[in-house]
Symmetry: C2
Subunit: 122 residues, 2 copies
């Protein structure tokens, strides 16, 4: 049994709900990654090498509410951690949690996404 990792409280007091590590489920992670736009967000976060990115740094061709929905799915599945810094919502990949639960999975999905983008010219 994995010990749940405490969710850090954001400095601003507004805290968004996240699954603890032990609550993350494979089916929810796969579901979150199965959407091209969400997978694109995850690829950008991975490329940021551990740096957090605010939602507004992503250039998504959708409405604000659709964008918010996608980030929420990523957060609620345990793929992304979102914290408020002032008025900005910062996003970071939960690579440590995912690799502890599902070793190598995120890396293989990211590699698969890169291969497909190269193949299709995306």
């Amino acid at each position: 049994m994995t010990t749940p990792v405490p969710v850090p409280v954001s400095a601003g007091g507004r805290e968004l709900p996240h699954p603890r590590r032990a609550e993350i489920r494979l089916e929810n992670v796969l579901q979150a990654l199965a959407d091209p736009m969400r997978l694109g967000i995850v690829r950008e976060l991975a490329a940021a090498g551990g740096n957090e990115l605010s939602c507004s740094q992503f250039d998504l061709p959708v409405t604000k509410s659709t964008s918010t929905h996608h980030f929420r799915v990523l957060r609620e599945s345990g793929v992304v951690r979102q914290v408020y810094r002032g008025t900005a919502k910062l996003n970071g990949l939960r690579e440590d949690d995912l690799d502890a639960l599902f070793p190598g999975l995120l890396g293989r999905v990211l590699d698969a996404a890169t291969r497909q983008a190269d193949r299709l010219g995306g």
Copy 2:
């Protein structure tokens, strides 16, 4: 560019539509695997070590039409190949196609599923 692999024609003449290798998309594969019942089917097929299993060999707690739906999603995403042998529909994992397109992905998903089942006692 990957050369599309011809879909073999079943002896019985009734042939089900499958995506060619080059038509398989990561998002559809992840979507197919994101459902617990479909992931369970894939785990059983993987455990069968390359042997084909008929739909009726799976003990699924759902109606026939729901079961048929799940197998269709697996087939249309490119995860499973279905062929008729007489009146039986036989299912086989498309491991070669998936590993050619997305090396290691299926293995990591199967490993993740095993780990989760062990962790949750499933």
